[in-house]
């Protein structure tokens, strides 16, 4: 008599460990590190969109990069030479589309060409950093005469390594924030169910009111 109920419960219980309480949604994580934009797509709760189309576009719609994610859903491409906001869109081809936008300031001042050696740390080709050193406005330096390295170059090297260190340090933070953003919270589920109960209450009230009206009208009609 009770076996189907127990069986149904067992089926649900068997499914639940594989189904952590997380929203079904594709998301993109992307960050800027050492002159390169890297990141990955992920389904909240697990799964990576492997070999799906990825597109990075400037605010005016111009495509900066087109490609595919690798087997682990990851992607990487050189940062645009001129800092610009970048919208990275992942299209899994089955109606799952996600995008994220990196603001222009995330790309920082354009790194100088001589700092390209530093990028070897990140395993990037130096060609990714074919940038004009002069376009970054620097404060004038009154004490620069005695230096063998020009103050500007030194400043840029420092900027470059600070940027790289900060990017490396905050990456885990950004990643966990991206993951946490879509996590399913019990409060939200309870709130949603509460809303549905409330709507049912409104519907019951409306239908009860209509019935009362009909009933109060009916005796008048007949008598």
């Amino acid at each position: 008599m009770r076996s189907p109920a127990i069986a149904a419960l067992l089926v649900l219980l068997a499914l639940l460990p594989a189904a952590p309480a997380e929203a079904h949604r594709l998301r993109v994580f992307a960050t800027v590190e050492g002159g390169s934009v890297s990141g990955y797509g992920f389904f909240i709760g697990g799964g990576r969109p492997a070999h799906v189309a990825i597109r990075a576009a400037a605010p005016d719609g111009a495509a900066i990069f087109r490609g595919e994610t690798d087997g682990g859903g990851r992607f990487a491409f050189p940062a645009p030479p001129v800092p610009t906001a970048l919208t990275i869109t992942l299209d899994a081809g089955d109606g799952h589309v996600a995008s994220t936008t990196l603001a222009a300031h995330r790309f920082g001042p354009a790194p100088p060409a001589e700092a390209a050696t530093a990028s070897a740390v990140n395993g990037l080709p130096g060609s990714a950093l074919q940038l004009t050193a002069g376009d970054a406005a620097r404060p004038p330096n009154p004490d620069g005469e005695g230096l063998t390295v020009s103050h500007e170059a030194l400043q840029m090297l420092i900027d470059r390594s600070v940027e790289a260190a900060v990017a490396r340090q905050i990456r885990p933070l950004l990643e966990s924030y991206a993951a946490a953003e879509g996590r399913l919270r019990f409060n939200d589920i309870a709130g949603g169910i509460g809303m549905i109960v409330g709507l049912a209450g409104i519907a019951l009230w409306v239908s009860a009111r209509n019935r009362l009206r009909r009933e109060s009208r009916r005796p008048g009609d007949t008598g």
Binding site: M1, P4, A5, A7, A8, V11, L12, L15, L16, A18, A19, P20, A21, E22, A23, H24, R25, F43, I44, G45, G46, G47, R48, P49, A50, H51, V52, D91, A92, G93, D94, G95, H96, V97, A98, S99, G182, L184, D188, I189, G191, G192, I193, M195, I196, V197, L199, A200, A203, L204, S207, A208, R211
Partner: protein
């Protein structure tokens, strides 16, 4: 996959989806009588919760829909039930989108409603094991129709859209099986405990009773 986000589909598909969903909601609300409000709300809440719980599956992830169960037990009221749940999922979790709310509602609820109309009268007459089998088949059919609806919506939006058959096979076949299994047990349970859930024919105006 049935929660298509904003910015994927073309305006005609979005408007068409909203139109069908609005007609469905209108029809359902006119026929929604007091005795069915609670059941509709319970199924809406069940769908709201269960379609958030996702199962990672290879390159994508799937979740149950329960659309056949809704169609079988509440008929056309499945459309507002699904729409309310989808709207809440959008507001609370950012799943899906406002422009696609219509087409997503249609893709999920309409197969359930159609299958319910088709299989409902049968299930009320069958014995429990037979009803479980029929319920499972109904659920599989509803999932297949939902998959078809999603693919159609994508194809109508982009004529060049290539929906990989492999991805569809990977994601929908296990979903089909899981959905069939859960629906079969749910139907079996309801048949034993509360057989009147499945009306013998088209739902009569219960308020007259």
């Amino acid at each position: 996959m049935a929660h298509i986000p904003d910015g994927v589909l073309s305006p005609p598909v979005l408007i068409g989806g909203w139109a069908v969903a609005a007609i469905g909601v209108g029809l359902a609300l006119r026929r929604l009588d007091e005795s069915r409000i609670a059941r509709t709300a319970i199924l809406s809440a069940a769908f709201f919760t269960v379609s958030l719980l996702m199962i990672p599956l290879g390159p994508t992830s799937v979740h149950l829909l329960l659309s056949a169960l809704m169609g079988l037990s509440i008929g056309i009221a499945a459309i507002p039930a699904v729409m309310v749940a989808l709207a809440l999922q959008m507001l609370l979790f950012g799943v899906g989108g406002l422009t696609t709310l219509g087409i997503n509602t249609v893709n999920i609820a309409l197969p359930g409603v159609l299958i319910g109309l088709l299989a409902g009268p049968w299930i009320s007459r069958l014995s429990v094991p037979q009803a479980m089998l029929a319920g499972g088949l109904a659920a599989a059919g509803a999932v297949a129709l939902t998959a078809g609806g999603v693919v159609l919506a994508l194809l109508l939006s982009h004529s060049a859209y290539s929906v990989s058959a492999q991805v569809l096979g990977i994601t929908y076949v296990p979903l089909l099986l899981a959905e069939a299994l859960v629906t079969a047990f749910a139907v079996g349970f309801l048949k034993r405990v509360k057989p009147e859930v499945f009306p013998a024919g088209l739902p009569r105006p219960l308020a007259a009773e």
